[in-house]
């Protein structure tokens, strides 16, 4: 087999550790110079491939690539661009393969969630039928932890650690103030469909440090009266409570809590979050003083507080992807396989992409407590090891020092292509 180049792209929402996967891909590819030529990255994700806007990662020093391991977000740019189905836009898939062929690319590493696993699979299938075979390997990434088969997804552990730590710290704060002031602290977290991140908020409380936490999961329809009972009970018992509310919580009417039809003074519709909505309800129903926070991008960008387990796994997935490719595999995704909970042990496995694409892993029913406001011991056992370990970045002048790559472009060989 003639030596082929590799293509790597980041897809969808970025994370604190997706660059650690990029680091794993590039460092490992550099060790297999006999089989892999250059690693090209897509500028702004798959759009970079479609528009032939490729980055030559061979122009980056070993040091710069090593720094990716502790740099959050997407070093080559990501995108929210879902390729349509083969039937709807076969031309796009063909274009991808033309670009790959033009740049002698034989390996396609796509770092993303469920949608990108699907794209990855289709590229491989179509390439084969077009007579230009591509080994397509998906590298798992999603803060939402919703990919199937793999025990967990790189990106999630660090968000979980950030949210658990933040809830613990803010709870110490509100506990201090509760006698005369704030009694309820509310934090809104990501997770529009699955409550994995919300569940992590419950880790703030453990055997050593008990903290009253009420979690609102997207899986549980919001029941205002029951929720107020839970809040009131905790405040009566502990003097304060912390509420973790997922952005994806819906009322019994199926509408997002955050979609409350807010209007400004001029009657214009205003978008809010679920945290202020819950805060206002608590004020109306219980008359308690509250504070609320919306973590938003902070939670998924907080590399300074990344979970070492997560960083290690993100790197391992990138490394394994290249090793699978070198071993001749195609249409697969490396996975994290849990061997034991205590002590936590995991190994790298693999899954065929047709089992991964378009399957969303929800929280198992047995992970949410009976009252709907907390996690079960089983859930805790699952989540706990994922947040373990610290892996701080270097600091300079008081701030984390993250790398910015040169991102030198590869000369184009094809005619322009217009995105639909």
């Amino acid at each position: 087999m003639a030596k082929k180049n590799a293509f790597y792209a980041q897809s969808g929402g970025v994370t604190a550790v997706i660059n650690a996967s990029a680091c794993g891909v590039i460092e490992t590819a550099r060790k297999h110079k006999d089989k892999i030529g250059k690693v090209y990255a897509g500028r702004n994700g798959i759009i970079g491939a479609l528009t032939e806007d490729l980055i030559d990662t061979s122009k980056e020093s070993a040091k710069a690539i090593a720094q990716l391991r502790y740099t959050p977000a997407g070093a080559f740019g990501s995108c929210r661009y879902k390729m349509k189905s083969l039937e709807q836009n076969r031309r796009e898939y063909e274009r991808l393969i033309e670009v790959f062929e033009a740049h002698n690319i034989g390996y396609f590493f796509y770092n993303g969630g469920g949608d990108s696993a699907d794209t990855c699979l289709k590229v491989s299938q179509l390439a084969d039928s077009m007579g230009y075979p591509i080994q397509a390997i998906h590298v798992p990434k999603t803060v939402d932890n919703d990919l199937p088969i793999t025990d967990n997804c790189p990106g999630f552990g660090s968000v979980a650690k950030y949210i658990a730590t933040s809830v613990r710290e803010a709870s110490f704060d509100v506990a201090s103030m509760a006698k005369t002031s704030t009694k309820v602290f509310i934090i809104e977290v990501m997770g529009r469909h699955a409550g994995w991140i919300a569940a992590a908020g419950a880790l703030a409380s453990d055997e050593d440090t008990e903290i009253p936490v009420v979690v609102l999961f997207p899986e549980v329809p919001f029941d205002r009266a029951k929720f107020m009972e839970a809040v009131d009970e905790k405040v009566k018992k502990f003097g304060y409570v912390s509420v973790v509310v997922s952005e994806g919580v819906k009322g019994k009417d199926g509408k997002f809590l955050s979609d409350q039809g807010l209007r400004d003074a001029f009657g214009h519709a205003q978008l809010g979050g679920s945290a202020p909505v819950v805060a206002n309800m608590i004020k109306e129903d219980l008359g308690l003083k509250y504070h609320w926070a919306v973590a938003d991008y902070l939670q998924r960008a907080a590399r300074h507080l990344a979970s070492k387990t997560d960083v290690d796994q993100a790197y391992a997935m990138g490394k394994a992807a290249v090793e699978l490719a070198v071993a001749g595999k195609n249409s697969v995704m490396p996975t994290i396989v849990r061997k034991s909970d205590k002590p936590y042990k995991w190994v790298v496995g693999e899954a065929p992409l047709n089992k991964v694409a378009n399957v969303e892993k929800m929280m198992p029913k047995g992970f949410i407590s009976r009252d709907g406001f907390g996690i079960t011991p089983k859930c805790r056992t699952y989540l706990q090891p994922l947040i373990v370990g610290e892996d701080p970045p270097p600091y300079k002048n008081g701030l984390p020092q993250y790398v910015r790559l040169k991102n030198v472009g590869v000369p184009k060989k094809l005619a322009d292509f217009e995105l639909k």
Copy 2:
């Protein structure tokens, strides 16, 4: 002089390092057993003194007290309880002194901001006139950095580090997404009157890591058109922008931006933050996709990311307070005196309380850039050293391990006292 006990209380909003000051007070008092008996702490701040609800800190081990150095929030509880003027409620001040006399308290260490400096001063004056002299020492604390004379306030440096780091991390995130998705990230920060914390957001960008940041200060009346120009210009140049908006930003009409008369579907008034208001304006005027975060308590509780400079200074202020007391001083506050910017050098000074009480230190005019949306080099020189250094807490199972004290009560000796 017979050996007297000491009283210590935490006042107002807590910080990531106020317990480091408590640690400094208690550890130093324990070294002066010849002059200082026990250190009693007020449960929930000054309310603990008024209701004779005292905590005996001598029941805490040396290890537990040492752990205060890295534990956020108020270990003894704080309160928002502003004592009225002497004329309005002389009885409260007399009660304080009765409690102090009943428990042989000769030292009053009050850890707070401008209000508590004022209370501290009055207690000292009245005690003197009542023939039961108290040495009253104020220990500076406020995330708002608005105390006069001292170069900066313990608590501020850690918030500044948290906000600067968060803006940097979220900016890496939005930069990755900007091609096809979010182009504007907005973070709301504390500081209702002074823009110190907002200014710290601008530190996210430095020589090594340029980041487009637009700051909205409470000192600068909000000009929607000019702001949109600034945002638009940055997005055109960099592809994205981060906006740091103070909770205290007001429009030209003098009303808080956050007070936009929001109504829910039923017409009920809803409280929001300034971040979602600014986000909605950007959508209306520029049509750009945004994300917004509200840091709220996270910013002042984030001990995991505390500034080592801040921790050291907080401890030093507590230590100095006791040393001033032992040296016979009264009605004073230890201060931080800056000796040089580069290298940053500081020493402990002192200020008379009558120069501190009820004076609010605003951002100097020369600290805000001419366009009103950034900081000047002078401001950067001032802020930069305050965020330097890391001082992480110990972690267990992936989470910071913070101490909870036993907080054993002191038997009461007086009749009950009802707070007005």
